[in-house]
């Protein structure tokens, strides 16, 4: 996992583009780090993209800070990725802002990790109303139980779904 | 035969099929038909003929044998036709009554589809029949008849089966009150206008009965909507016709038409005519007032559980109703059958002596049909240009706006009568 993210800066430097001005991205991170010190870890910054990683116990306070202080007011997408080798599931909230115009192009990826075998995460529903259905989807697709979410229920899958969550890597499509 | 020898062949004949037994069964069937007809049918016919007074032709009683001889000379059938035309049965079932209305209804359905298609840059029915899909309606009717009728489980079966028939019967009862030409009306009531409104009042009841008997939610909501809608529009409907009653001083529809010999009442009561038109749209559940059948909200409203010929019958009833309301508009506001005489007094000289052709009547029928059809087109028109209205706006329109409008026109008419500009029954 860490290898992946270290390589990302190398990837972007190979592109033949003008060296991007990452002023806003860096200022976002500096505000975060001055508030939370080492609780927040920067994974990468790219033009208009910034990814930070926090531990599950700090995610609600970080999310509150992001929403109230920095103005990132809604989640565009909530997705999870399964890493069986490291025995973790990474859940990423892609946050964006409608209320601050200069932040509109920025996507801040707030990622956190949970154990693969007993996946529990605090729900961000008290902070972002927009994650309601996304978290339900993540629950049924990856089996991550969001504590504090009123409905950790089936959403997209059939009513009689009794298999393991389909986006886990050990779930194989038949014949593939 | 077909399946013999152990070969697997695609065939519909049963395994023990034998051609001889097939022919034998047909012969057996024919035998029984002949036996029953000769022993039961023919005696029955003669018993009936014994009691029924047969028409006279040239001083002779027309027996069935004489009737057959008339094939040789077609003019001899004229007395029979004349006799039949003057029976009440003919009037109720064929000419000013059911058949004529059903023909106009059928024409309406076809014209509606073509007319709407042209408005929407489409072609419309095209393939059934050689010319522009003229047999589309026939094909649809055949399809509906051949479909299975599904009654929902838990439905109140007797009501479920009888209400479609009641619906058509009520609509057909309305056609009996419409005067088509001078003297051509099934029942010339003195309270014809009131009778029409009274019979129209049955429709919400039928819709509610049917929707209740279906034991389903969408029809139930649709039936309630139909009830709301028809009650809300009943009052402006009657009020708008009231100014015509003031003008003609009669409730008899024939008298109302004859009071318009000089000018149409539309000239004096245009606001009433507008209210009448809007109310009849609502009464007919047509766009923009098709709430009881709003398919995006309540599937098909109170018609959701109809299938096969039950749906066909209700559609027939609806279009009969459409004809009646268009005809009523023509009678009340557009002078009924009144129009310039364009038919000659003698159509075919050979028939002169028989008096089967009456120039005034044919002229009246012609103008009445033309006007009614124009009115039907006007009722069809909003379907192409308007979306559906919402129930609260609909009720507000019915109870607040249209009632006030019809009162305004009534006061205008009253003022004109008291002012002496016109008297009841025409200009002074």
């Amino acid at each position: 996992m860490t290898d992946i993210n270290n390589d990302i800066n190398q990837t972007t430097s190979n592109l033949n583009i003008v060296e991007p001005d990452l002023k806003i991205e860096h200022s976002l991170y500096s505000q975060l780090s001055s508030e939370f010190k080492d609780k927040v870890r920067l994974v990468y910054t790219k033009p208009n993209r910034i990814k930070i990683s926090v531990e599950p116990e700090h995610i609600i306070e970080v999310a509150f800070f992001l929403k109230n202080q920095l103005g990132l007011d809604h989640a565009e997408s909530v997705g999870g990725t399964d890493y069986p080798d490291e025995n973790v599931i990474e859940v990423i909230y892609h946050l964006n802002s409608y209320s601050r115009e200069e932040l509109a192009p920025i996507i801040l990826a707030l990622s956190t990790k949970t154990d693969r075998n007993s996946s529990y995460l605090p729900s961000l529903l008290p902070v972002f109303k927009s994650v309601e259905y996304h978290e339900r989807e993540t629950y049924e697709m990856l089996g991550v139980y969001f504590q504090g979410h009123p409905r950790n229920e089936r959403f997209l899958l059939p009513e009689d779904w009794a298999d393991i969550p389909p986006l886990k890597k050990e779930f194989r499509i038949k014949g593939r | 035969m077909a399946c013999g020898g152990g070969q697997v062949k695609m065939t519909t004949a049963p395994k023990d099929f034998r051609f001889g037994s097939f022919v034998g069964s047909i012969v057996w069937l024919l035998f029984w038909i002949i036996v029953i007809v000769s022993l039961v049918g023919l005696p029955l016919i003669f018993i009936i003929l014994f009691y029924i007074p047969l028409p006279y032709s040239n001083g002779e009683v027309i027996t069935p044998y004489l009737f057959l001889s008339m094939i040789v000379d077609p003019t001899r059938t004229i007395p029979i036709i004349k006799f039949l035309i003057h029976t009440d049965f003919f009037r109720a079932a064929v000419f000013p009554g059911f058949m004529y209305a059903a023909l106009i209804a059928a024409a309406t359905i076809f014209v509606e589809r073509k007319f709407l298609a042209k408005m929407q840059l489409r072609i419309g029915p095209l393939y059934a029949g050689k010319i522009e899909g003229i047999f589309q309606l026939m094909a649809d009717g055949l399809k509906l008849m051949s479909k299975e009728i599904i009654a929902p489980s838990g439905a109140d079966k007797p009501i479920f089966w009888t209400t479609p028939i009641l619906f058509v019967a009520t609509a057909a009862a309305l056609t009996a009150l419409i005067p088509v030409a001078p003297g051509w009306v099934v029942s010339d009531l003195d309270v014809g206008l009131l009778a029409i409104f009274a019979i129209l009042g049955f429709f919400p009841l039928i819709a509610l009965l049917f929707s209740w008997s279906c034991n389903s939610k969408y029809p139930f909501i649709g039936g309630l909507r139909a009830l709301h809608q028809m009650i809300a529009f009943e009052i402006p409907f009657i009020l708008s016709a009231l100014s015509i009653v003031l003008l003609s001083a009669s409730l008899n529809l024939t008298d109302i038409v004859e009071a318009q010999y000089a000018f149409w009442f539309f000239a004096i009561a245009p606001i009433s005519a507008f209210v009448f038109y809007i109310s009849s749209l609502a009464e007919l559940e047509r766009v923009p007032f098709d709430l009881p059948e709003a398919e995006s909200e309540i599937v098909a409203g109170w018609l959701t559980e109809t299938s096969g010929m039950i749906y066909g019958l209700i559609q027939l009833g609806t279009y009969l109703k459409l004809y009646v309301l268009a005809a009523l508009f023509v009678i009340l506001f557009m002078g009924g059958w009144m129009g310039p005489q364009i038919f000659p007094q003698e159509l075919i000289p050979a028939f002169t002596g028989e008096k089967i052709y009456n120039a005034t009547v044919v002229n009246g029928i012609f103008w009445f049909t033309i006007k009614t059809f124009g009115m039907i087109m006007l009722i069809l028109l909003p379907r192409g240009i308007n979306p559906r209205i919402r129930i609260d706006i609909l009720l507000h329109t019915g109870w607040y706006k249209l009632i006030v409008l019809s009162f305004i026109n009534m006061f205008i008419v009253l003022a004109m009568i008291y002012g002496g500009v016109i008297t009841p029954g025409g200009l002074q």
């Binding site: 992946i4 109303k129 259905y133 959403f155 | 766009v287 923009p288 709003a294 398919e295 995006s296 379907r383």
Partner: protein, 391 residues
Amino acid sequence: MTNKYSESLDSKFKETTNLGLEVVKEASEDRLMKLSVGPQHPGSGHFRFTIKVDGDYIVYCDPDPGYVHRGEEKMCEYRNYIQNIPHLERPVIHDSTNITYSYSLAVEELLGIEVPRRGQFIRAIASELNRQVYTLYWLAIYGIFLGHSTMFMWPTGDRELFIDLLAALTGARVTHAFNIPGGVRNDIPEGFKEKCLEYIKYFEKRLKEYEDIFYNNPLFRQRTENVGILPKQDAIDLGVTGSVLRASGIPHDVRKVEPYDVYNEIDFKVQYMKTCDSFARAYVPFLDMRESCNITRQLLEKMPESGEVRVKLQSNPKGRIGEAYKRVESGRGALSYYIVSDGSSKPYRVKISVGSFRNILALPHLLVGSRLGDMPSIYWALNYWPVEADR
């Protein structure tokens, strides 16, 4: 009932009756009728939501999508970057160029390639034409949902114009598979520019007629104005996107705020309205169509006369280790792909975030408290495409 919307329901009946609490609950349940809208209901498409009505008012709504769930995200993990394109456009075949657009952008970032300039222009043209196709189809269904059959027939007919253009451009009427990582599949055919300009000129004339018969119709206005108000702050909190967001007074369009490919060279306005009601949500896509005509014309003018349209890729290209998040503005709002690559030729994880899925969150908020007759106008104005939301 475990839903949070049930609270508003209970309080409603406590006001109307003076009985004890438990009796109130039973009595209130008796008054209600539970209606299932979809998936076999003509007013919903491949989507189901349960509503409870008290008389004519909706007091409860619970969306239940998933009837056309295909597992696109799982399927992506089994196919390589090029093989993924045809199945990824299946969720919304009427807007297939846009749904593969952001996928191509994300994969290009992972592969580290840049699209030739002419290829970028052709992509943008195809995407604008396809947006028109989608919006016309959406408008047609909106028309028939409100019982306006002419508004169903006209847009479905005029949609053929753009389908013709796209068929000439890509070779297929609906599922184009035109955008690929590295550019577009083929160059534009001869005479395309003139044909396109002619069609757009005709279409702009038709748009005026749409406005006359539909948007300026007093009955349509009565039905949609002041119906289903989604205030600005609620729109932000619920994270809605596309025309729903712009109808609530926020001029947010990905083409403007984060221009991809050549959109920073195009001069256009973001169309938005401040009335926040169903009418605004129905009118903004219409304004977008008009703006889209303008954009297409500019794209055709500025397009280089000749040049490459795509980069030659090696067969079975391998993405570099890392992740990419790219979004475009589709007919239903921001459409974004989050792709994680582990260095092989197949993506490790693909997450598709679609506008429909984000907009449907607003449905219970808008429906509770509105009339049953407003249900179709509120629901379809959310610019929801059930198949896309299920993926």
